[in-house]
C-alpha cells in the first residue's frame, strides 16, 4: 500500500539578507491512508514550513534544496499551477489556526463552503447548497441553513472553525493538514473541536498531519507522533510510547515540560493571615459616549482573598473577567467594591497609595508590549528602584535574580527573545520587593519549555522572598501544579473557589468539571 503522504529527505532553506538559513533538514515522514501523524515542535522548529511546503505555498525566498514530496502517487513538486489548483482542497486539504482570519469577512458562510464543492465536484449551485447544509450539520452546527446565510463575524470562533473543518472534509480529500487548529480557541471549545475531529476521522478514514506545539494534546489525537527540533526530526514513535518512553533528549525535555497536575511543584503551606481581601468587585469599562450606552460590567460583584505567601490560581476562559480582576486590583480599571490590604481599605483607584502600589505588582501577558520599546533595559529596571527606594547599583543583582547576564542592562527590548523579555518584566516586578505579584496569563504566549523555565523561576523567587501570587491562566493543569487554592471564573462570576486537593472531588461546579474534562491529564 502506498503512503497517502510521503516526505523523503526533504531539505528547505530560507534566503535572507544574512544568507541562506536552513529551516528543514533531511526530513523523512510517511502517513499511511487513514493514519494521523502528529508533528510537534516549538516555535522555530519549522513545522509550519512543512505544511506550506506540502501545499506549495512557500514564500518567495524559500529554496528547496533536496527531497521528495509525494501525495499518493503524485509528485507535488512537479505540478503545474493548473494541476495544483486541482489538488488543493480536492486531494489535499488544510485547516488553519485562526478561523476568524481564514474566512473572508465579506462573503457569506454558504458561499465559502459551496465554492469548493462547485469547483472540485462540478456541482450545480442548488446541489452544492444542499450538500453544504448536510456538511454543516455533520459538524454539529445548529441550524445549518441559517448559518449558510450569515457572515463570519456573526458566528463564534468555535462555529467558524467547524465551518472550516466542514469545508476541508467536504471534498473528501486523501489527506488533511491541520495547523494548530485549536490554539486560537478557548479550552472547552478546543476540546469539542478535537472530539469532532476524532469522530470525523473515524467516519471518513481520512489521513491527517496534525501540527501543534502541544505534545500532550497531540498524543490524544494522533496514532504516531514525530518531534521536530530546529528543522531536524529527532524522534518518531507511536503516540502512546512517546510520553511513556521518550528516547531523544529534546523529546524528553518536551515531555518534562508538560504540566501534570499530580506532580506538585509547591509543597509548603501559606500563612494564615489574609493579605488581600477583595469583595463585591464590579469592574466597569468605558463610560457611554455622547450618544451611546455604557457596556455591561465585566465582573459581577466578585470576592477573593489571598493569604500571605499563598499562590491563588484564577482560571477561566476568555471573557470570564479574570483579567478585569487583575486590572481592578492594580488600579488599571474602574471598579466598585472594597479591597482590604494590610489594614488599608480601598474603594477605588484614588485610594491606592504608594505603599499599595509597591506591595502589589503586576506582570502582563505580552512581553512585546509590556516593555517600552524606546527604553533600554537599565532604564526599565531603574523605575521601580527610583519609585520604591532602591539603588541603581541593584540592577545587576536584579538581572542575576532572573538568570540573565548583567550585560543585558544596555540592551533594547527588541534585542531580547520573548522569554527573556518576560524575565525582565518579572525582574521589574520583583525590584519593588512586593508582597503580592499578579501574573496575568504570563506563560500563554510562550513555548512549553520556556513556560516551564518561567514557572520554575517564579517559584524560586517565591522561595527567596515569600511573595504571594495571584496566578491567572487558562491552563488548568499548570495551575494545579503550583496553586494552593484555585478560583474558577465564568462570565464575570466566581463559580468555584477550592483548595487544590479538592479539585477532583464530586462537589465541584459543573463548569469546573467541564474545564477538567477539556484538559485531561496526559498518559505516561
Amino acid at each position: 500500500m502506498i503512503p497517502a503522504l510521503a516526505i523523503r529527505n526533504y531539505t528547505l532553506d530560507y534566503v535572507t539578507a544574512a544568507g541562506p538559513g536552513r529551516v528543514l533538514h533531511d526530513i523523512s515522514l510517511e502517513i499511511m491512508p487513514g493514519e494521523v501523524l502528529g508533528l510537534v515542535g516549538e516555535s522555530g522548529s519549522g513545522k509550519s514550513s512543512l505544511a506550506w511546503a506540502l501545499m506549495r505555498h512557500l514564500p518567495d525566498n524559500a529554496r528547496e534544496v533536496a527531497g521528495l514530496l509525494q501525495l499518493g502517487d503524485v509528485d507535488l513538486q512537479r505540478l503545474s499551477p493548473r494541476e495544483l489548483t486541482k489538488i488543493r482542497g480536492r486531494r489535499l486539504g488544510m485547516v488553519f489556526q485562526d478561523p476568524s482570519t481564514s474566512l473572508n469577512p465579506t462573503l457569506t458562510i454558504g458561499r465559502q463552503v459551496t465554492e469548493t464543492l462547485i469547483q472540485h465536484h462540478g456541482l450545480k449551485p442548488r446541489d452544492a447548497d444542499a450538500l453544504a447544509i448536510d456538511l454543516l450539520g455533520d459538524v454539529d452546527l445548529d441550524n445549518p441553513a441559517e448559518i449558510m446565510r450569515r457572515y463570519p463575524h456573526e458566528i463564534s470562533g468555535g462555529e467558524k472553525q467547524r465551518v472550516v473543518i466542514a469545508t476541508a472534509f467536504g471534498c473528501r480529500p486523501d489527506v488533511i493538514l491541520f495547523d494548530e487548529p485549536t490554539t486560537a480557541l478557548d479550552v472547552i471549545t478546543g476540546a469539542r473541536i478535537l472530539e469532532l475531529f476524532a469522530r470525523l476521522r473515524r467516519e471518513t478514514g481520512v489521513a491527517a498531519l496534525y501540527i501543534s506545539h502541544d505534545l500532550a494534546l497531540v498524543t490524544r489525537v494522533a496514532d504516531r507522533v514525530a518531534v521536530l527540533e530546529r528543522g531536524c526530526l529527532v524522534e518518531q514513535a507511536p503516540a502512546a510510547d512517546i510520553f511513556r518512553a521518550p528516547r531523544h533528549a529534546n523529546t524528553r525535555a518536551l515531555v518534562d515540560a508538560v504540566s501534570r497536575p499530580e506532580r506538585r511543584l509547591v509543597h509548603d503551606k501559606p500563612h494564615d493571615q489574609v493579605l488581600l481581601a477583595a469583595s463585591d468587585i464590579e469592574v466597569q469599562y468605558g463610560s457611554g459616549g455622547l450618544f451611546r450606552d455604557a457596556p455591561p460590567p465585566a465582573t459581577k460583584k466578585i470576592g477573593l482573598e489571598v493569604r500571605g505567601g499563598e499562590i491563588l490560581g484564577l482560571v477561566g476562559e476568555s471573557g470570564s473577567g479574570k483579567s478585569s480582576v487583575a486590572r481592578a486590583l492594580t488600579g488599571l480599571a474602574r471598579f466598585s467594591g472594597k479591597i482590604s490590604f494590610d489594614e488599608h481599605e480601598i474603594h477605588g483607584m484614588g485610594d491606592m497609595n504608594a505603599a499599595y502600589r509597591r506591595d502589589v505588582q503586576i506582570i502582563f501577558q505580552h512581553p512585546d508590549s509590556s516593555l517600552n520599546p524606546r527604553h533600554r533595559i537599565d532604564e526599565i529596571l531603574s523605575r521601580p528602584l527610583k519609585l520604591y527606594g532602591g539603588h541603581l547599583a541593584d540592577i545587576p543583582g536584579l538581572l542575576n535574580q532572573v538568570r540573565l547576564p548583567a550585560s543585558y542592562a544596555n540592551r533594547w527590548p527588541h534585542q531580547l527573545s520573548g522569554g527573556e523579555k518576560q524575565r525582565i518584566a518579572i525582574a521589574r516586578a520583583f525590584a519593588a520587593r512586593p508582597k503580592l505579584v499578579i501574573c496575568d496569563e504570563i506563560t500563554a504566549p510562550l513555548d512549553v519549555s520556556v513556560q516551564a523555565q518561567i514557572v520554575e523561576l517564579l517559584l524560586a523567587l517565591r522561595e527567596e522572598t515569600g511573595t504571594a501570587f495571584l496566578f491567572i491562566t487558562h491552563d488548568l493543569n499548570l495551575i494545579r501544579q503550583i496553586a494552593h487554592r484555585i478560583a474558577v471564573m465564568r462570565r464575570g462570576e466566581v463559580v468555584d473557589l477550592l483548595p487544590v486537593e479538592d479539585f477532583d472531588a464530586d462537589h465541584v461546579h459543573s463548569y469546573t468539571r467541564e474545564l477538567m474534562a477539556a484538559s485531561p491529564v496526559p498518559v505516561g
Binding site: H57, T85, R88, M94, S102, N104, P105, T106, L107
Partner: protein, 315 residues
C-alpha cells in the same frame, strides 16, 4: 443599520454644519477688528462706515449677530450680495451645481482609471509596471493644482490646440461644447485624484492579498482569477468609498483654483470673486455651502460603506 445608528449619523452631520457655520461667521465677521473698514477699504468715508455698521448690526454682541445670521441661513435666506444687490442664495446654489458637475465627472474618471491601475500595480508589485505607476502617483501628489492646470493648459490648449483654454458652456445647452470646455478642468482635477486614489488602492490591494483569508481561498484550490475577483476585490474596494469621500473635501478646495484658472462659473470662482470684492454675505454663504456639501457627502459615504461592510452594522 439600525434606526438609532441613522439618527446618530444625522445628528453628527447637523452638529458639524452648525460648528462650521459658527466658524465661518466668526472668521469673517467677528474676527476682523473692524469688519466695516475691511469691507469698504481704506478710502471709505466715516458716514459710509457708520451706515454699513448699522446695516450689518456690527455693534451687537457676537452671539446676537450670529444667531441673526444663522436664523436666516437655516431658513434658506443667505442675504443680499453687496456686489450685485441680488439674493445670494440662488446664485450660489446654481454655481454649486456647476461645480458639482465638474467634481462628479472628475470622480467618475478617477474611479475608472485609478482603481484598475492601483490593483494592477499591486498585482505586479516590484515589477516595472508597479514602479512606473508609483512614480507617476508620487509626482501627481507633489504638484499643486495650479501647476498641473497651467501645465496641462500649456500642453493641450496652447501647444496642441485640442481643447479650449478657458470658458464654460452648459452641457445642457450644447453637449459637445460643454464637454470640450470641461475637459481640461476635469482632467486637471483627475490627475491629482488619480495619483492619490491609485496609491491607496495599491496599498489596500497589497494588504488584502497578504491576508489569511486570501491564502485560505488559494489553498482551497480556487483558481487565481476567482481568488482575485470574488475574494480579494470586494475587500480592497471597500475603502475606496472612504478615500473618495475624504477627497471630496480636498476637491472642493481645489475647485477654487481650477475654476479661477479655467474661468468656470462654479462656487469656487464665486467665492474668489466674493473674497476679492469683499462681498461679506457671499463669502459667508459660499464657504458654508462648500463645507456643508463636504459634510453631507461624508455622511453618505459613511452610510454606503456601512451598508456594504456588514461588520460595521452594529456600532
Amino acid at each position: 443599520m439600525t434606526l438609532a445608528w441613522f439618527a446618530r449619523r444625522l445628528m453628527l452631520t447637523l452638529y458639524t454644519v452648525i460648528v462650521v457655520s459658527m466658524l465661518v461667521f466668526a472668521i469673517t465677521q467677528i474676527l476682523p477688528a473692524d469688519a466695516a473698514q475691511s469691507l469698504l477699504g481704506e478710502n471709505a468715508t466715516p458716514d459710509a462706515l457708520a451706515a454699513l455698521r448699522a446695516k450689518l448690526g456690527l455693534g451687537d454682541p457676537a452671539w446676537l449677530q450670529y444667531s441673526r445670521w444663522a436664523r436666516h441661513v437655516f431658513t434658506g435666506d443667505f442675504g443680499i450680495s453687496m456686489r450685485t444687490s441680488l439674493p445670494v442664495g440662488p446664485e450660489m446654489l446654481a454655481a454649486l451645481s456647476r461645480s458639482l458637475l465638474l467634481t462628479v465627472s472628475a470622480i467618475l474618471v478617477t474611479l475608472a482609471v485609478a482603481v484598475p491601475l492601483g490593483v494592477v500595480a499591486a498585482l505586479r508589485q516590484g515589477r516595472l509596471t508597479d514602479t512606473g505607476v508609483s512614480l507617476i502617483a508620487y509626482l501627481g501628489v507633489s504638484l499643486p493644482e495650479f501647476v498641473t492646470a497651467t501645465l496641462l493648459a500649456l500642453l493641450l490648449a496652447d501647444t496642441l490646440h485640442w481643447l479650449p483654454a478657458t470658458g464654460y458652456v452648459s452641457p445642457l445647452e450644447d453637449f459637445g461644447g460643454g464637454i470640450r470646455h470641461l475637459a481640461l478642468p476635469v482632467l486637471t482635477v483627475s490627475v491629482i485624484l488619480v495619483a492619490h486614489v491609485m496609491r491607496m488602492m495599491r496599498s489596500e490591494t497589497l494588504d488584502v492579498l497578504k491576508s489569511d483569508y486570501i491564502r485560505a481561498a488559494r489553498l482551497k484550490g480556487l483558481p487565481e482569477r476567482t481568488v482575485l475577483f470574488r475574494h480579494a476585490l470586494r475587500n480592497a474596494l471597500l475603502p475606496v468609498i472612504t478615500i473618495i469621500a475624504l477627497d471630496v473635501g480636498y476637491l472642493l478646495g481645489g475647485v477654487i483654483v481650477i475654476e479661477e484658472i479655467f474661468a468656470i462659473p462654479g462656487i469656487g470662482r464665486a467665492l474668489m470673486i466674493a473674497i476679492t470684492t469683499r462681498d461679506l454675505p457671499s463669502i459667508q454663504a459660499g464657504a458654508l455651502i462648500m463645507a456643508a456639501t463636504y459634510a453631507v457627502t461624508n455622511t453618505f459615504a459613511d452610510m454606503a460603506y456601512a451598508f456594504l461592510d456588514r461588520r460595521i452594522r452594529y456600532d
